[in-house]
Amino acid sequence: MSSRAQIATCPACVAAPAAEEAAAAGMGMGDRQILLSLPDIHCAACISGIERALNARSDVRRARVNLTLKRATIEADTGTEAADLAEALTRIGYQAHELDAGSLSGSQSDKAGRELLMRLGVAGFAMMNVMLLSVAVWSGATDATRDLFHWISATIAIPTIAFSAQPFFRHAWSALRAARLNMDVPISLAILLAAGMSVYETAQHGQHAYFDAALSLTFFLLAGRYLDHRTRSVARSAAAELAALEVPRALKLSGDGEAMTSVADLRPGDLVRVLPGARVPVDGTIETGSSEVDRSLLTGESLPVFAGPETRVSTGEVNLTGALTVRVTAAGQDSTLHRLADLVAIAETTRNRYTSLADRAARIYAPVVHLLSFAAFGVWLWVSGDVRLSLNIAVAVLIITCPCALGLAVPAVTTAASGRLFRHGMLIKNATALERLAEIDTVVFDKTGTLTEGRPRLDDPAGCRPEDLALAQALARGSAHPLAAALAEHVPDRSPTEVRQQSDIEHLREIAGHGIEAVCQGQTLRLGRADWVGATPVAGTATYLRVGDRTVAFRFTDSLRDGATEAVKALQRQGKSVILLSGDHPSAVADIAGRTSIDAFEAQVLPDEKSLYIKTLCERGHKVLMVGDGLNDTAALAAAHASISPASALEATRVVSDIVLLGNSLAPLPDAVITAGSATRRIKENFAIAALYNAVAIPVALLGFATPLAAALAMSASSVSVSLNALRLR
């Protein structure tokens, strides 16, 4: 439910209050709470190592590590910078990232979960005590003793049901008000009727009271509900953590200087400053400054584009080299990101129409059970003429057929499956994601950032002269541009002469939007775009170095993401057809398709065409799994039958995905499809088990032989066997 609500609202709106809170926290009011994400911690030594390191600092008052959430909560003095703490931890060998405390405060204290657990505890306590009394009745207590035991049971059971079964009553009521039937309707009816009839029977000194059945029903079903909630809240808190890693704020320029403001407060006409390396927070035109922008998340293009005054930029692009001043033309509701989110909202409604197996089962099950019990009442009244007896039998039918096992059948399986996938680095965000994933027959991949890392890597370094490479590297170290970073990252076997050359570099300066210039031994060096350096452009991604009047081209290829080839091969072996769709140039797409052995690919596909392509596939009867990370994939992700995005994707993209890949590798992907398949099989098996128990129990109940003991046995046995079957998935 909550995941849908999250999708319906836009990510910027969700984040806006968080940013405000974060800004308020930044103002400093006494203590400061800092949250750090610690993705690598796994043992007792990590816990004590980190806590010791943090508590030893004078500016930290208290630090506590939560291993389950892989997170540290720190109470520190005002003015302590989270970045400093993260850096201190990184120095002693633990990866740490700052988290936005504002957007996480909700998930930290999981109130709904604690409430469910409380109800579960009360139901468990009451069930055990009433069962104890019931055993005495079953083993032969009679007359006054039996009545006493029944009355004690009633005093325990009635308040417990009133408290613990509330979630079922609420859901059933909301379904009935909308003139629908869901699983909670027969559940609520069975619990209420069982309790009501038992009170009446007790008052009439009757032989059978079903207090224990009413309570164990409540207990088992609450257990299912709690499992369901746990699975979702784990996914939710992990998703919230991903979102908290990026805070939507912008540097607003006004008469009295720069100020950090929330993106939601920006109006068209405002000026914002976008620093190199930052994401453009709004749609707008550049006023001053020039730079290169990376549009890959919006269009899938892997080459950075030049941006100078009058160039239009849109939300989500990354500024690479120079600082830009941007005049806002659209922010928040009207930005490109928002328009995409609208597209997504439309596609979402189609997906929400997907009925889960549980809903389908409930749709058949609920009317059948009610009709059966009603028929039992009618027939018995006609045969015996005894209203009380007929009512007893009708209620017994309802209790015995109550979907105890059905209530556990789905959550137990999804808990086991999500747990398994989570351990393999996948986060299931949508309740029906596994069922939809199990049905897919076509997999569509995006290229940049999904199949590839979206990070260029120097191609064929052996082909260029080592001294050129050394010079280029010396220049590249001064820039944050991805190509420069890739050059600098490359480690050749350096000889002493090259090192000497590097120290001779002088007057290093970056010319935004063009490249880097420096002087070495009286010679001007330039590293950057072809037209600026004066070189003839070569095909593909490249940067150019000018030494004197000589130019050298350094080519880059986008390196494949870890496990991409294996994932594609494994999916093809499973009989899925794999397609590559990209907004990038045909040559780059063909290259990647060749390396991952994908036969079907299309290049220069616009965002709308992508989602159209997916829709056409769907209309032809294919079930499509879309794997993508860019904003240009968002509509396609939403249109597909199931969708997966890597953790590096933008928040807006992750929100529409059913599954988020937490690790850097694509290797777990085929495993996810297999797990989804077996999970769906288990769910169906569980339904079969539940149906089998009912097939035996219903005739017994219809014939009037059902006793509270038989009901208790059938209920516990089916619940336990369903849970055990689900555990086979782990």
């Binding site: 007792a44 806590e51 590590v65 291993l67 604690r114 657990l117 055990m128 003793t145």
Partner: protein, 52 residues
Amino acid sequence: MEVLVFLIPISLFLGALGLVAFFWTLKSRQYEDPKGDAHRILSDEYDDKPAP
């Protein structure tokens, strides 16, 4: 059967005691970090008194 007059209240009282203990563990947030707690017992830093 008179013994029931004592036994039933006693059993209910003991059960309620367990329930109250459960509430206490819930209130004091002992289910927030089950994995961490499982690992913390291996650390000998907290032998004299539990970490705050």
